[in-house]
Symmetry: C2
Subunit: 312 residues, 2 copies
């Protein structure tokens, strides 16, 4: 199902390189051009044969492409838009995969020419790993991709982009950037923030050694370290570019946590039990919706080979 | 390696039933007696053949046992101790698997006779599931078990209990109950509290539907719902019985979170980046220590069969 002639991916990290693989595996475009600021990354992309062409120069990279996908941290969009604006083909579609959407129009609408279709997007998928080696074609399968087209977007261009994500195995939802940023603040940004935070808190304790934190992490902490191992630049930019919604959600989170703190201090077992018994239902719904595995403990293997036994 | 003649397990949930399976699979005792307040649970235990004998009466259950393992929520220990005290065999060992240790001596030392060995314990292992069907023999393999014997504990009795956990595949660490409760507050109790909390916060939002929270949970939120699906009664009792350490750690967590909040509000990208780039190292150490899997995204499968595709 060839939807595009030539697609340029800017930024070949986990997501960008997964898009490259998914484009090729599903025959979505004829030619894939990879562009990255890091020469090492481009070398790796060439070595892994993820693209038909690697190109360090932004303007040359987008030349002749009818699809340009930004897959760099969202804080870079303004500069990239400035650089590629005049080099974009007439009628090309420019999209992205960033975790914040309100900032995309702000950063790009002034610098891109009127003849291109700017349709921001966000696949809600990922792993904690980074770089072109970490990507894989099926990353988006079974996950949702969100598009936040401007009100006056060309319906045909939106439809083509929708078809691309569907070819990758995603379901597509259209919403406003404002609503996207609110929803993702609670389903993604705040979870990352508190995961990063607790790993930092644990590291700074004077009465508990780092080695103890590691050894006894199976009590729950280790789950948090997975998302706290995500790309630092990407996540810095998420928080700087979704300030309003993140602060709003963080305020609610802290308010609720303060109520729990009070319940613990005053020994209000009923308040604790009530919350704890409602949350199980949410887990069940996530599994039913195909958004997580049913296997207990994330399906972690529990038969541990001798060489992988607990170590100090 | 028969260490005990007859072991009584009180409470056949996830942990108790896993202990039953591990005792039998590793030939640690000759006879296993299962005792539970729920007749349905005991029926299930009999059906699954997890014990040689099921017994609803606490006194009858411990009669003739040289090992008694409490595997009920820690809030029940006082009443159970009161009930079994006079029925315990001379020189029997009484231990437990609870997630809080300071409260065990407080609840039991007054009600158990002097001739028994009270040696509290805690295997740092588990899944989010509950009940006798959820347990399995290898749950403790590769994980740490902590023992918090009183200062005057019989070294031989401690050694036997250590051998039992080692037979289950665990490594054993001895520490004071106070230190245990501090370490587990940060590696287990606070992670559970903030996971429960964010699931509650997400559920209560008026601008974001529950269905959206479910659909877009792959952004990070779903990791939290796993531990927020843990047993509500057990966790209520943990927080009520480790109040001091939990409040102390929660204070530090909130302090750190407030600093992050301020960094976001004032656009201090360096502060965010610095924290985010340190936390990856903790993840690496946990994997090296054999306490989590290396596979990205917890090894979740990414080839989704059609019947498990994303659903509304």
């Amino acid at each position: 199902m060839t939807l595009f002639k030539q697609a340029t991916i800017i930024g070949l990290g986990l997501i960008g390189s997964s898009v490259a693989r998914a484009l090729r595996e599903n025959g979505v475009c004829e030619i894939i051009v990879a562009c990255d600021a890091s020469p090492e990354c481009l070398d790796k992309v060439a070595e892994l044969k993820l693209a038909d062409k690697t190109e360090a120069d932004l303007q040359k990279a987008v030349d002749g492409s009818d699809l340009v996908i930004l897959a760099t941290p969202v804080g870079t969009y303004g500069d990239i838009g400035q650089a590629i604006g005049q080099a974009l083909d007439f009628g090309a579609t420019v999209t992205d995969v960033g975790s914040v959407k309100g900032c995309v129009l702000k950063a790009l609408s002034g610098v891109l020419p009127e003849h291109v279709h700017l349709i921001p997007g966000h696949p809600v998928a990922g792993t904690e790993q980074s770089g072109p080696e970490a990507g894989f074609a099926s990353l988006f399968a079974g996950r949702w991709a969100i598009l936040t087209p401007p009100q006056d977007a060309d319906p045909e261009a939106v439809e083509k982009l929708k078809k691309m994500w569907e070819a990758f195995g995603s379901k597509v939802e259209i919403m406003t950037p404002e609503h996207h940023d609110l929803v993702l603040a609670i389903t993604s940004h705040i979870p990352h923030l508190i995961a990063y935070n607790i790993v930092g808190t644990a590291h700074d304790l004077e009465g508990v050694t780092d080695s103890e934190v590691i050894k006894f992490s199976a009590g729950g902490f280790r789950d948090f370290t997975r998302i706290a191992a995500s790309d630092p630049t990407m996540w810095r930019d998420v928080f700087l570019n979704n300030k309003e919604a993140v602060l709003e959600m963080l305020g609610r989170f802290t308010e609720d946590l303060t109520a729990l703190q009070r319940a613990i201090r005053w020994g209000d077992g009923d308040a604790l039990f009530n919350l704890f018994s409602h949350t199980r239902e949410v887990r069940r719904q996530i599994i039913e919706a195909g958004q997580d595995e049913e296997a207990p403990d994330f399906g972690r293997p529990h038969e541990i080979p001798p060489e992988k036994q607990a170590k100090d």
